[in-house]
Structure formats: structure tokens, C-alpha cells
């Protein structure tokens, strides 16, 4: 299980990822897939400084990530693939041609136009359609912010209502 999680989280690298998931999984590396961050050395340095020294962070565009996923799967260490948006994950799933079997919605926070589904998941109609499209490719989509929480299936997420 070298890639333990394909996670959508608009905070990217933060406490829940580094500590909440990182420690129980004994995480060795994070693959951060984001076209903007991949083009900015300053942003990369910012995220590198956010992780403990024993953890490495690799940065890729969606296109580049799809090409190197197999190598990460072959790693002896456990890793997480992290994206900041549903659109990015949809593009990654398509580009990865069947290599991604499950997607975790870890945090999509409130912004105008989004409806509250769970405490940590707010979605626009377009984002809901994109998640359904990911699932239609045979990928299991669940929401789960931390390891101790229940993984909520996409169908349940999309019929839930949360104001928090």
C-alpha cells in the first residue's frame, strides 16, 4: 500500500494530513499535485517547511503526476497523493488511466455558491457532478477528514445537509 490515500483537501499540507493521517500511516512522502504549486518554487518551499524532516514532498502538475504514479506505487515507503480541488482530482483520475481506485474527500470548505454537505465538505452543483463522474469511472469516492472518522460514501454525502 505505498499510496495509502488520494485526498482532496483545499488546505493541502496541514495538521490533519501531516499529523492526523501522517503519524498512524507512518507516512514517508506526500505527492502534491497542483499545476500552480508545481510552477512556483516559493510555494514548494512553503509546503516543504511544513512537514517533519523524515517526510518528503514531491510536486507535480496533473500531467506529470499521472506519468510517475506507477513509480510512487512501487516505493517501499507509504505516501499520500494530495490535490486542492475536485477538478484537479477529476483530471488526475482520468489521466491516470485506471491506477486510482479510491478517492478521499478530506476538506472542501465553505465558499459562495457551495452547499454544506458535511461539516468539512461544501460543494457546488458542478463539483457534485464531477464527483459523480469520478465514481462513474469505477473509483470509490468517500468523505473522511481524519482516520478515526467514518468514511462516508459519496451517495450519502450528496444527500446530506450541514450548516456547520
Amino acid at each position: 500500500m505505498p499510496i495509502a490515500l488520494y485526498r482532496i483537501d483545499d488546505r493541502l499540507i496541514h495538521g490533519q494530513v501531516v499529523v492526523g493521517w501522517g503519524q498512524p500511516l507512518e507516512l514517508g512522502f506526500i505527492v502534491l499535485v497542483d499545476d500552480d504549486v508545481a510552477a512556483s518554487e516559493w510555494e514548494q518551499e512553503l509546503y516543504r517547511m511544513g512537514v517533519p524532516p523524515e517526510m518528503s514532498v514531491h510536486f507535480h502538475t496533473v500531467e506529470d503526476a499521472a506519468a510517475v504514479l506507477a513509480a510512487y506505487h512501487a516505493s517501499p515507503q507509504v505516501g499520500i497523493v494530495l490535490v486542492g480541488s475536485i477538478d484537479t482530482m477529476q483530471r488526475l483520475v482520468s489521466a491516470a488511466s485506471g491506477q486510482i481506485h479510491a478517492v478521499n474527500i478530506g476538506g472542501v470548505h465553505h465558499s459562495p455558491g457551495r452547499t454544506g454537505r458535511l461539516r468539512y465538505v461544501f460543494l457546488t452543483p458542478d463539483e457534485e457532478a464531477r464527483l459523480r463522474a469520478i465514481e462513474a469511472q469505477g473509483v470509490e469516492v468517500t468523505a473522511q477528514d481524519v482516520p478515526g472518522a467514518r468514511a462516508v460514501p459519496l451517495a450519502e454525502v450528496l444527500t446530506s445537509v450541514s450548516s456547520a
Partner: protein
């Protein structure tokens, strides 16, 4: 965002963190020293990175504070402050704080913030000790 302190006068630091960490540690400072009003609390709960950064900018602008304290080096508040500092070079970030550190800073209200931060860091680090176990010598 929770701006627990309504008064802007005398605010010297912004405390930002997970859940109710910030309001909680400020309440402890208030209970011990009566100087909780020198701090403003921000919680990251329910906020994306951009909204956390906006809340921090507002807090700095409204209070004139130059120091931001955060709970966790890899936390989203810390990441947001480090982005913010790029555009505001005069702002100091202190991350991984504890109560001893914040108390020490709170008590140094006639000292330059940077100098107060250095002294508070020493106090905060020194306050963490283990009792009741034997540590084998190297």
C-alpha cells in the same frame, strides 16, 4: 473566525490555531494574569486557506499587532501566516506555542515585540519537562 477580544486597544498578539485552541489559551492567560485582552483569537475551523489568511490580515489591520502565535508548525494557520509574512515583512510568526511562552510574552508589555518574543521562546522551551521517569544517560 472568532475574534474573541472586541477591544483593539492594547492588543499585541494574534493567536491562531485549530478548534478552540486560541480562545482557550487566551482564556488561560486571562485567568492567570488578567492580560487576555492583549490577544485576539482566530480559529481555522471550517475555513479554507484563503479565508484563514483573510481573517489574519483583518486581525492585524484592526489591532496593529505585529506578532502572530500559532499552535502547530504544519497547521493551516501557520501556512497562512507564512504566506502573509511574504507581503508583510514586519510581522513575526511564533509557531508551536505553549502557555508558558504566551504568559511570558503577555507580561512583557513594555518591551519591543521582537525582543519579547525571543525571551518568551526561551521560557516556553524551558517549561517543557518530564517528571517521574528515568532518562538513560548517553
Amino acid at each position: 473566525m472568532t475574534a474573541d477580544e472586541g477591544q483593539s486597544g492594547g492588543v499585541r498578539g494574534v493567536v491562531a490555531g485549530h478548534g478552540t485552541f486560541a480562545s482557550g489559551i487566551i482564556s488561560a492567560v486571562e485567568q492567570i494574569t488578567g492580560r487576555g485582552r492583549h490577544f485576539v483569537a482566530i480559529s481555522n475551523t471550517g475555513l479554507c486557506l484563503d479565508d484563514i489568511q483573510s481573517a489574519l490580515v483583518r486581525a492585524l489591520d484592526e489591532t496593529g499587532a505585529r506578532v502572530i502565535f500559532t499552535d502547530l508548525p504544519a497547521g493551516s494557520c501557520t501556512m497562512a501566516v507564512r504566506r502573509l509574512i511574504r507581503e508583510r515583512p514586519g510581522v513575526l510568526l511564533v509557531t508551536g506555542i505553549n502557555l508558558s511562552l504566551l504568559l511570558d510574552f503577555a507580561m512583557q508589555d513594555d518591551v519591543d515585540p521582537e525582543q519579547a518574543v525571543r525571551a518568551a521562546l526561551d521560557r516556553g522551551r524551558a517549561s517543557m519537562v518530564v517528571h517521574g521517569v528515568t532518562v538513560p544517560s548517553a
